[in-house]
């Protein structure tokens, strides 16, 4: 049995150490007439002088003898009495020792219980801490989601109002355009009749030549032709405008995105600064169900951005539009060879109102609204760029 346990069998040398024997021994010797000896259970003399003729009594603790007391000078009664006295002393000593050992064990046990409690506390604290942390994360996530939704709403509202304006303008222009075109046709007929009348005359009145009406009639035909061309152009611009103003219609359509890219190309074609061109490298695409008004706006925004980047570089350049598709998605790339961006700028490029340009030049909304449109289609958009190395915006849109 482990020697530190309180409930072990205590032996005599443990209960009576040398100092105790030094106190007890002489007193016992005096009581017992001079000779006394105290033995351990194994017979070893712990204190005093062992005489071969001495009387001997067992010192019993609990049930068994743990030692002996002997005296050659004491009478039996005195020895018996002394033995009881010593046993009482040993009993008290063993109780004291058991109690203090038990106290140590209990204290250690209490301490361990405390530590277990402490460990449980730490554990639950850690759990709550983790919970609190994840709560913060969750809140941040929700706030972020709200921000994005709000941004999308803002974009949608903005696009919708731009779309309404564009649709209204297109409608208002179409009406006068209609009667101008029809009137010009009628006017052309009138001019034609005048020309026929001139042919039917054998000789012109002098005033005809004075007013140089031959030239006027010829020129009128040319002017009318030019007007016709102008009107066709206005009509095409209005058509494009209407196409892009379809943003206020949220319904989805099935479209070929190459068509949208060509439209964007033709809108910008007339506005390109000198030395800058747009090149289309389009591979056949499957049709895609999408809100194409939003995507058209996105393409325009990205292209304008690319053109501006080339302008900023103050050199000739081009924006190449590439399209391709695989079984899963359509991939569109808009690559310019303009000023490019630093990694920090690339990081922030989709933030609303983030712009590297002078105030008034860009709204800082082009790419962020493009991103909203692409994300609304469960697509992906990202920018790669290097300073002075141009930038490439890549959009992937899932087919299903």
């Amino acid at each position: 049995m482990n020697p530190t346990f309180f409930d072990r069998e205590w032996n005599l040398p443990e209960l009576l150490d040398a100092a105790a024997l030094e106190r007890i021994g002489p007193a016992l010797a005096q009581m017992l007439g001079g000779n006394v000896a105290i033995f351990a259970a194994d017979g070893a003399v712990l204190w005093g002088q062992a005489e071969p003729e001495a009387r001997r009594e067992a010192l019993v603790l609990e049930l068994e003898a743990i030692g002996f007391l002997s005296s050659s000078t004491a009478d039996p009664f005195a020895l018996h009495g002394a033995r009881h006295l010593l046993q009482t002393l040993l009993g008290a000593e063993s109780r004291y020792k058991m109690a203090s050992s038990l106290h140590l064990e209990a204290t250690a046990e209490d301490y361990q219980a405390l530590q277990r409690g402490h460990a449980r506390l730490l554990e639950s604290e850690a759990r709550y801490k983790a919970l609190a942390e994840s709560l913060e994360e969750k809140v941040a996530e929700q706030v972020d989601l709200l921000d994005r939704r709000q941004n999308q709403l803002f974009q949608a509202a903005k696009l919708a109002s731009v779309g309404q304006l564009a649709a209204g303008v297109a409608h208002e222009i179409n009406n006068p355009l209609g009667f101008i075109r029809s009137n010009l046709g009628t006017l052309g007929n009138y001019v034609h009749r005048l020309q026929q009348y001139r042919v039917s005359l054998d000789s012109c009145p002098p005033s005809w030549s004075t007013l140089d009406l031959d030239f006027a009639l010829r020129d009128a035909t040319d002017i009318l032709k030019e007007c016709e061309t102008g009107i066709v152009r206005i009509a095409s611009i209005v058509r494009d405008l209407k196409f892009f103003s379809s943003v206020d219609r949220a319904e989805e359509e099935v479209v070929d995105l190459n068509e949208s890219l060509r439209q964007a190309f033709s809108i910008l074609q007339g506005q390109l600064p000198p030395g800058i061109q747009i090149r289309l490298v389009l591979l056949p695409l499957p049709t895609l169900r999408c809100q194409c008004g939003h995507l058209n706006q996105a393409f325009l925004g990205i292209l304008r951005n690319g053109i501006q980047a080339i302008v900023d570089a103050k050199r000739p350049g081009e924006v190449v539009i590439r399209s391709e598709a695989d079984d899963e998605c359509v991939t569109l790339r808009f690559q310019d060879n303009g000023v490019g961006m630093t990694p920090e700028e690339v990081q922030r490029v989709f933030e609303p109102f983030y712009t590297t340009r002078e105030i008034g030049v860009g709204t800082g909304l082009g790419l962020s609204s493009a991103r909203s449109a692409v994300l609304a289609h469960r697509g992906n958009i990202f920018v790669t760029s290097q300073p002075d190395g141009g930038a490439t915006v890549t959009i992937t849109l899932p087919l299903s």
Binding site: D7, E62, L63, E64, R95, A99, L102, H103, T107, A113
Partner: protein, 214 residues
């Protein structure tokens, strides 16, 4: 595991239970009622208002025909909730347990909590509760507010432990409770310590010698 050394085999038996359930009284009655070959004095280690602070200890024993000294050390634990550390230390290394429950109806919760504590403490001090000899004694049958036997039996009959109804105050069934534990103890350890083959002790001899009946 009983301690076997120097020609003696020592069983540590622990009386466990809720505060003021009569554990010390059980020991006092046993001391008066038993007459084994060797019977020591009850040692009461520190009490406060008659309530055990550390433990009580009653040693008794006999010699087997082989000469082996078989010793029983009966301990009580302090029942008060506050002394759980001491309770665990006393319970450590127990070879058998008498769970002394209080029959008073108002003590039902304390009984349950104490028994739960016994199970938990056994595992904390490294005792295999399932395989430790255990006897359940419902004490204080003399109380008018005692829960009827039938009700207690209904609740405990499914358990594997001997169930006894005692009144330590009058000494009723106290010896029988101890005897019940001795029998479970013998069955649990006889083979391991070769009590029959080497030491010439069958169960009845073992019990009779410990109780001191002729």
């Amino acid at each position: 595991m009983p301690d076997q050394s120097d020609g003696r085999l020592t069983f540590k038996l622990v009386y466990y239970g809720p505060a003021q359930g009569g554990k010390t009284t059980n020991l006092l009655r046993l001391h008066d009622a038993l007459s084994p070959e060797m019977l020591g004095e009850i040692q009461m280690l520190e009490t406060q208002n008659d309530r055990t602070l550390f433990f009580d200890l009653l040693p008794l024993g006999f010699r087997a025909p082989s000469g082996l000294l078989i010793k029983f050390r009966l301990f009580t634990v302090p029942g008060q909730v506050a002394h759980d550390g001491t309770r665990k230390a006393v319970l450590s290394r127990a070879d058998g347990i008498v769970f002394v429950a209080d029959s008073d109806r108002r003590q039902e919760t304390n009984n349950a909590e104490s028994f739960q504590g016994l199970v938990e403490n056994c595992s904390r001090v490294g005792l295999d509760f399932e395989n430790t000899p255990l006897v359940v004694q419902f004490n204080k049958r003399d109380l008018p507010s005692a829960v009827p036997e039938a009700e207690i039996c209904a609740r405990w009959s499914a358990t594997p432990w001997p169930l006894l109804f005692a009144s330590a105050l009058t000494g009723e069934q106290v010896v029988e409770s101890f005897e019940a534990l001795l029998r479970v103890l013998y069955r649990r350890f006889a083979g391991e310590f070769s009590l029959m083959a080497t030491h010439g002790l069958d169960e009845d001899a073992f019990v009779r010698s410990a109780l001191g009946c002729p």
